[in-house]
């Protein structure tokens, strides 16, 4: 086979990485290149440098080191039995590409993943070498996210954490059975064991930093994971429950949901339909409810239907509110933060502003409208000094009144 040039490899190895949902470059320690020999900075908040027509942001150079793989996971385009064209970057090529893109302000850093070649340890060594070279040879201070290989030597995973801002280990599928069927070479204990090990290493790193200022900053942006939605029989309730357990057990920063996309050269075991993008969106919304709105996973799940699926036509918070009308209406002028956070349409920022301003004024509907995106949706759920939703909250067909027009839904519904 003729040698591929870097651009041809990039086309193959970026294409192979496009099913990975995570792209964030935020949440790491603040640093910059002033006084250093290289380039790069992170200011806490990540920057999205471009957006693709699929609506996803491009923040990092997201590529695979190679798309060759000795595993045969059905959902993965790079599995052993796939006919996809293969390519492999050298560590040096990835380093050069990252620096060249970074210098032109195209990216915030690198998100490197890989198919498994030769052995898990060999592959992990290669991933670590890229990060090492960027940090040590080039004094690169931008963001690095490494996807680790679950059964690689813990020492290699530890090294990865020393160079990277974020580490991720994919749980792949929400249920153990799904994993067993679709990723026969991976196992839940193995993946969760790796997560647990990483959690310990991150905590140790934090403790060491508290004691010694010179201690290395170990994976300062923590660890994340991804699961594929719609390739197995898991219900939304299963998925939300799984995510909640992962947050609790492994202190994950983020759980990403990736609606399964039809992939070229798909395995016979997989559905061929379009990805359920709206379902993915609703899962992200439920994730936010748990992380920022104080909802427990059981509460999110209680908004799902009998089959354990969240409604696709309305968001989970509204679904919850419609089911638990006895909590409403909430008096904007008196309610606690927790109560306000339950009002459909009131975000964390708006709640913050209301609480801050409440000492100075008696909120009218107009005041609330000024601090929020849209008042229409929340009207039946709130009381202000000039508004009381008489009986509206008891209306049986309330959902029809406030739910968005149906045609908006069908654009994305699977």
């Amino acid at each position: 086979m003729a040698q591929l040039d870097t651009r041809e490899k990039l086309a193959i190895l970026a294409d192979a990485a496009k099913y990975d949902a995570s792209c964030a470059s935020s949440g790491t320690s603040k640093r910059n290149s002033v006084g250093g020999k290289g380039i790069g900075s992170t200011e806490g908040m990540g920057i999205c440098h471009a957006y693709a027509p699929d609506g996803r942001c491009i923040s990092l150079l997201k590529i695979l080191l190679t798309n060759s793989c000795i595993f045969d996971c059905h959902y993965c385009i790079n599995r052993k039995s796939s006919n996809v064209r293969r390519a492999r970057f050298t560590a040096q090529e990835v380093v050069n590409l990252t620096l060249a893109f970074y210098k032109r302000n195209y990216i915030e850093g690198l998100f490197l993943s890989s198919g498994i070649i030769a052995s898990s340890n060999y592959t992990m060594e290669q991933l670590v070498e890229v990060a090492r070279s960027l940090r040590e040879d080039h004094d690169f201070r931008g963001y690095i996210h490494l996807k680790t290989i679950p059964d690689a030597d813990p020492e290699l995973v530890r090294l990865a954490g020393l160079y990277a801002d974020r580490i991720s280990i994919n749980v792949e599928l929400p249920t153990a059975k799904g994993l067993q069927r679709l990723a026969p070479e991976k196992s839940e204990p193995q993946i969760e064991g790796a997560m647990l090990g990483m959690k310990g290493a991150i905590e140790d790193g934090r403790d060491a930093r508290k004691k010694y200022k010179s201690a290395p900053n170990f994976a300062p942006a923590g660890q994340s994971t991804q699961m594929i939605i719609g390739a197995d029989a898991a219900t939304d309730a299963d998925i939300v429950g799984k995510a909640s357990t992962l947050y609790d057990r492994f202190s994950l920063r983020r759980v990403y949901y990736s609606a399964f996309s039809p992939i070229p050269d798909a395995s016979a075991v997989l559905p061929l339909q379009r990805p359920p993008l709206m379902r993915e969106h609703r899962l992200y919304q439920s994730d936010w409810l748990m992380r920022f709105y104080g909802f427990k996973s059981e509460e999110v799940v209680s908004a799902a239907d009998d089959g354990g699926m969240l409604p696709l036509d309305i968001d989970p918070k509204l679904a919850w509110a419609l089911k638990y009308r006895e909590y409403f209406p909430v008096d904007v002028n008196k309610a606690s933060r927790e109560q306000l956070l339950r009002v459909p349409g009131l975000g964390t920022k708006a709640v913050q502003r209301i609480l801050r301003s409440r000492r100075f004024r008696n909120f009218t509907l107009d005041d609330v409208a000024r601090l929020t995106v849209s008042i229409a949706k929340m009207r039946p759920f709130i009381i202000t000094s000039d508004w009381r939703p008489t009986l509206l909250t008891d209306k049986a067909d309330l959902k029809r009144w406030i739910k968005p027009e149906k045609h908006q839904l069908e654009l994305f519904a699977a």
Partner: protein, 510 residues
């Protein structure tokens, strides 16, 4: 002025009624004497320090907001007002402002709104009276200034994101040059971000208002005059590579154009090399997605020859295992067990029945009861070996009503069929049968998602979503329940005829 609370506590209202769209503050006092307003000229449109110094003096001298006119040197001047000296301090004690005000003011002052200086001065005046005035986020003045600050921060964020450097060779060295057109006066404010990020690179950011240059050799940031796009280099050899990345990372199966436009408005596009690809990528997306699916189908292995490395057997076993714990509908509560399909994974024919009955529920196998025996007999009659076929049910749990000690079969409803459809689809996805047979209306609904009348579709094959052939006939239990002897015989003969046609068709497809 000591009782500022009373006199200026409502200065927001004052500002509301006196500050017209032109930003001319207080030319006329309604009742008091005519005052020639004091004209304050700032050096630059983002001159925070100049504004702060002047504002401090003015507020200490007790000059009310309506008596000040703000302008920037070189911009269209105010017709009214005179450049006079600020009166001496009125002898009041100094007052400090909360830090959030400084942060907000530093951002808001970069806004292109000509009223920004005056608005900030009104708020400063208000803060003097009430140090907590900023906390009332619902106050229209605070709200408006917060919005200005927010727009500036958003503009700054977009600048961090969308500046695109191009590399230029320059006497033995390289310089990275970008052209960027912000909405507000943020170029100076944001220079620091680029210094921190690219501290060892020689770079310039050109904008219509000002050019910023960084020299890493001397660690100096310098300013030059504004520039136009033509002053910036044309291209960079790496842009093709970047475009390759941009088009490869895009997943055509997930088109979401609105989401993209929300975050990357078109006004930024002309300075970004990748945006020329957006239109062709969108136009080709559906075709690429279909191609992905088609290619996937074309590459499907023949059922007889599992691909090396394929896991058909393992996948099927795991699916059956997974189905044991199915709770997708309520039927699992009363049924004994999940009755999964059985047969070879490379069958001649894939049969879908309705639902396990009493005996199937106990045995855990499909088609073993009275209907199953009739089915076996019919198959034997037409010479189909059941062991070469795969037999499964549309609904995999037994549904019944108790009558005394007897469990009487009860038809599954559409919700149950649709809930269970997933399993049947997964079975078919693994097995990929060339020919599927729907036995009865429940099976037909499960396979097609539509409620069909059997008599209308039984003579010709349907095409399923995956392109394979599906024949519809009656369910054997229907034949058991016909009371009149003559009609029963007639229907059985017709069922056998259907099976013969299916047998021949399966042979033709094999």
């Amino acid at each position: 002025m000591s009782d500022a609370n009373g006199r200026f506590g409502n200065s927001a209202d004052l500002f509301d009624s006196r500050l017209g769209p032109g930003g001319r503050a207080g030319v006329l006092l309604p009742d008091g004497p005519q005052i020639d307003p004091l004209k304050i000229t700032l050096d630059q449109p983002d001159d925070f320090d100049g504004w702060r110094d002047a504002a401090r003096e003015l507020v200490m001298a007790g000059v009310p907001p309506m008596s000040v006119v703000w302008q920037v040197r070189g911009e269209d001047g105010e017709l009214f007002g005179s450049e006079g000296a600020v009166p001496p301090p009125s002898g009041e004690p100094m007052f400090s402002v909360p830090k959030p005000f400084i942060d907000m003011a530093k951002a808001a002052i970069c806004h292109s709104d000509p009223q920004r200086f005056a608005l900030l001065y009104v708020l400063l005046w208000k803060l003097k009276a009430n140090r907590r005035a900023l906390d009332d986020r619902a106050d229209p003045l605070v709200d408006r200034l917060e919005k200005l600050a927010k727009e500036v921060r958003r503009d700054a964020h977009k600048m961090h994101a969308f500046v695109r450097f191009r590399e230029v060779a320059e006497e033995g060295d390289t310089r990275f040059v970008a052209f960027f057109e912000p909405d507000h006066h943020i170029a100076r404010r944001e220079a620091g971000f680029f210094v921190r990020r690219f501290s060892t690179m020689r770079w310039s950011i050109l904008s219509p208002e000002v050019s910023i240059h960084w020299d890493p050799a001397t660690d100096t940031l310098s300013e030059g005059p504004g520039a136009s796009r033509s002053d910036a280099p044309d291209g960079d050899p790496l842009e093709e590579t970047w475009r390759t990345y941009y088009s490869s990372i895009f997943n055509p199966a997930r088109l979401k154009v609105k989401a993209m436009l929300k975050e990357m408005p078109k006004k930024y596009w002309h300075n970004m090399p990748e945006t020329s690809l957006v239109a062709p990528l969108i136009a080709g997306a559906r075709a690429r997605e279909l191609e992905m699916i088609e290619r996937a189908q074309a590459n499907l292995p023949q059922a007889e020859a599992p691909r090396p490395g394929g896991n058909i057997e393992g996948a099927w076993a795991a699916l059956r295992e997974e189905a044991k714990g199915c709770t997708r509908c309520d039927l699992h509560r009363c049924a004994t067990q999940t009755v999964f399909g059985e047969g070879p994974l490379n069958p001649r024919i894939f049969f879908v029945g309705e639902q396990p009955g009493d005996q199937e529920d106990l045995a855990g196998r499909p088609f073993v009861g009275p209907a199953g025996q009739l089915f076996d007999a019919a198959l034997e009659k037409v010479g189909i070996d059941r062991s070469t076929t795969y037999v499964t049910n549309a609904v995999k749990h037994f549904k019944f009503v108790l009558r005394g000690k007897q469990r009487i079969h009860s038809r599954p409803d559409t919700a149950e069929i649709d809930a269970c459809r997933w399993w049947q689809e997964q079975e078919r996805a693994i097995i990929r049968p060339p020919l599927t047979v729907a036995l009865g209306a429940t099976a037909a609904r499960s396979l097609t998602g539509k409620t069909l009348t059997i008599s209308k579709v039984r003579d010709a094959p349907l095409t399923l979503a995956d392109g394979s052939e599906c024949w519809v006939t009656v369910h054997p239990s229907f034949l058991l329940r016909i009371p009149e002897e003559a009609r029963r015989r007639e229907e059985r003969a017709r069922f056998v005829e259907d099976l013969e046609r299916i047998r021949d068709r399966a042979a033709a497809l094999a």
